[in-house]
Symmetry: C2
Subunit: 390 residues, 2 copies
């Protein structure tokens, strides 16, 4: 069955920060209204709103975000719901929006990722993040989400003979790029020495291995590619691929904890859909929740051989001038990681690069960009490949 | 753009109960495996799993249900995510599954609604249910979810000159039907006198106006109608319509609190898609979370005039022998209301009726059935119309 090509005609985002004075709906509203303005559309044209969010129930005491946010942004009455796939919720919502347009269910869809991780009720943010892991078989033993990633990092260092300081280039690169992104949470550059001396969080993961906890929202407007010209003449970005895969949630249930098989499956399904390979990708917004996840993602998605992800970073190939620039606007590490919003931030950033609107962070002649959003420690992975549409 | 017709080829459900000995994944697993067996499919044939759930984050400390449940039922690797739309989460997940098959994204999809409301962590169930309301403008004042419905019921009684005991037929009918449903939570018949003397919960809503809190899961298997014959010769049920609409979450933001405009919009969109009207519907599984919601639903969906929903019930028209049988397997009131699962339970029950497998509860010659799942006090409404496919 032939599906329709889908394009992004508008993007919007809030700064990632501790927004003590603003609720979930205000954050989502700012991003959505910015995206709708960017797309030159009126509320009456919108068919549906899909919201990606992970933590609003536990941390904000609010579910039902679909109807709540639709109403707040002037879209009362439309189809609206929330999608949850742990830290992959944002891209999962985008995947849903893409499918609704590709399959002909809707013409004009708004997708928003939003998360409010500071100013919480019911539980601490750490308790919230642990819900991405297996409550009955991992969290119940007291291991935190960063603890699980620490186990993976330790194992990686042991298996491949890598030292902690070897991971520094991921953080240095992310902070360098965030410094010139006005929407980023941490805009200070970081040196290798600062990285090595940072406060320990869960050995061997220290503060500068870890993405920042923050509040934020990002949004995109989708429509069939053939209709995109009605809304904007330039800067249309086509979704060339959208692919999702899963794995066991508990790390101990995976035959090989150091291989993100869902990331591999998701990326290679996406390559197949787009008819391209890793060599064709001009930039890669990967899910650097922790430096170890950057290394594992580069390997699973075919940019580095097994055990060589860190080496690719050390060789400078992940910088804006390198072979495969990653985290070009700061990544989860330095732009910040409002978990359910992150997948949409990544896609907004790729879209800005393909539109040539990434400012000082622009990757010259970027034509094809990839975004990969990961839920948990690799159990849900959604990959999108975007292309500048002339 | 032409979309594909979609059919239900398998259904499964657990008994609704206080399942103290079983976790979320066990409940979901029982329903999913039953549905897959009923559909005669192997795990390798399944393309995706969509899980409807509202409360798992707050009450069970577990998000990431898509990957978690997919893995548990032998579907590791497939596309899987969770959909949340308050008490409408189940039908929202079904709507997503429908769209994915109708639009040609996937061929074989499993949809599961699951909820575990007893044996909770982090908060009480009442706190969880309040997340369907507006946390910032309703719940913050201390009103519970039943309290909001009580305000609606009191206003309805005042506006239309209806007494509390007039609502009794809804409860009597639901319990009568549940008595012969082995999956129902409350299988005792209830008299008008018992109804009137039941313990007050939130005046004027008493215990027997209210649906039961319980644990449960229900599942369906979907495929293109043209492929359904490959899996089963008889008992295929076609989805003739799938429609979703929203409204303001906070009741005070609606111009007319006694009119469920999203229920009206959703039902009439569904009628239009199916090319039918209320007169053509043989049974209606409505969202009787409270008796007041039954009355409002009958009115909004066109089965009774404004203010006459209670009269329709008093006239016996909602019974199995009446003009529009509702809650034929016990409804939310007596089958039980595991919130995120309810929308799928409703569709399973309609499917069983259309297959002629409703046992003592069978509506003779049922050909066209409707299920309407409501999130919050009417802010999200999803309507499906199903037809027996020969």
């Amino acid at each position: 069955m032939k599906m329709r090509d889908v394009s992004i005609i508008g993007v919007g985002q809030t700064k990632v920060a501790e927004h003590w004075d603003r609720s979930l709906r205000h954050l989502a509203g700012e991003a959505i209204l910015a995206a709708m303005k960017d797309a030159h559309i009126e509320p009456a044209a919108v068919d549906a709103l899909y919201v990606g969010n992970m933590l609003s129930g536990l941390l904000n005491g609010q579910e039902h975000l679909g109807a709540l946010i639709a109403d707040f942004v002037g879209l009362r009455g439309i189809e609206a719901l929330k999608v949850e796939a742990a830290c992959g919720s944002g891209a999962a919502a985008l995947r849903l929006g893409y499918a609704m347009v590709a399959g002909g269910i809707h013409d004009l869809v708004v997708v928003c990722g939003v998360e409010k991780m500071t100013d919480t009720v019911n539980a601490e943010t750490t308790t919230g993040l642990a819900m991405a892991a297996d409550a009955d078989y991992e969290s119940i033993h007291g291991v935190t989400f960063v603890g699980i990633n620490a186990l993976l990092m330790r194992r990686y260092m042991y298996e491949y003979g890598v030292k902690h300081e070897d991971f520094a280039p991921f953080t240095v690169n992310a902070h360098r790029n965030a410094a010139s992104n006005p929407y980023a949470m941490f805009r200070e550059r970081v040196t290798v020495e600062q990285f090595s001396r940072a406060r320990m969080i869960a050995d061997p993961i220290n503060l500068l291995d870890s993405s920042g906890i923050g509040d934020g929202a990002a949004a995109v407007v989708l429509c069939p590619s053939t209709m995109a010209g009605e809304y904007r003449r330039e800067g249309v970005v086509r979704i060339r691929a959208s692919a999702m895969a899963t794995d066991a949630v508990a790390v101990h249930d995976r035959p090989d904890p150091l291989w993100l098989s869902a990331a591999e499956a998701s990326a290679f399904k996406a390559y197949q859909q787009a008819g391209v390979g890793p060599r064709d990708i001009d930039l890669f917004e990967l899910h650097d929740a922790f430096t170890i996840m950057s290394a594992l993602s580069l390997e699973a998605a075919g940019f580095a051989e097994r055990g060589k992800g860190v080496r690719l970073a050390q060789a400078g190939e992940i910088a804006r001038e390198g072979r495969i620039p990653i985290c070009t606007m700061g990544g989860l590490k330095a732009r910040g990681h409002p978990v359910g919003a992150t997948g949409v931030y990544q896609v907004v950033e790729v879209a800005l690069q393909l539109r040539g609107e990434a400012g000082p962070n622009q990757i010259p002649n970027a034509r094809l960009g990839m975004a990969q959003n990961i839920g948990g420690s690799g159990a849900t992975v959604i990959t999108h490949i975007l292309e500048a549409q002339d």
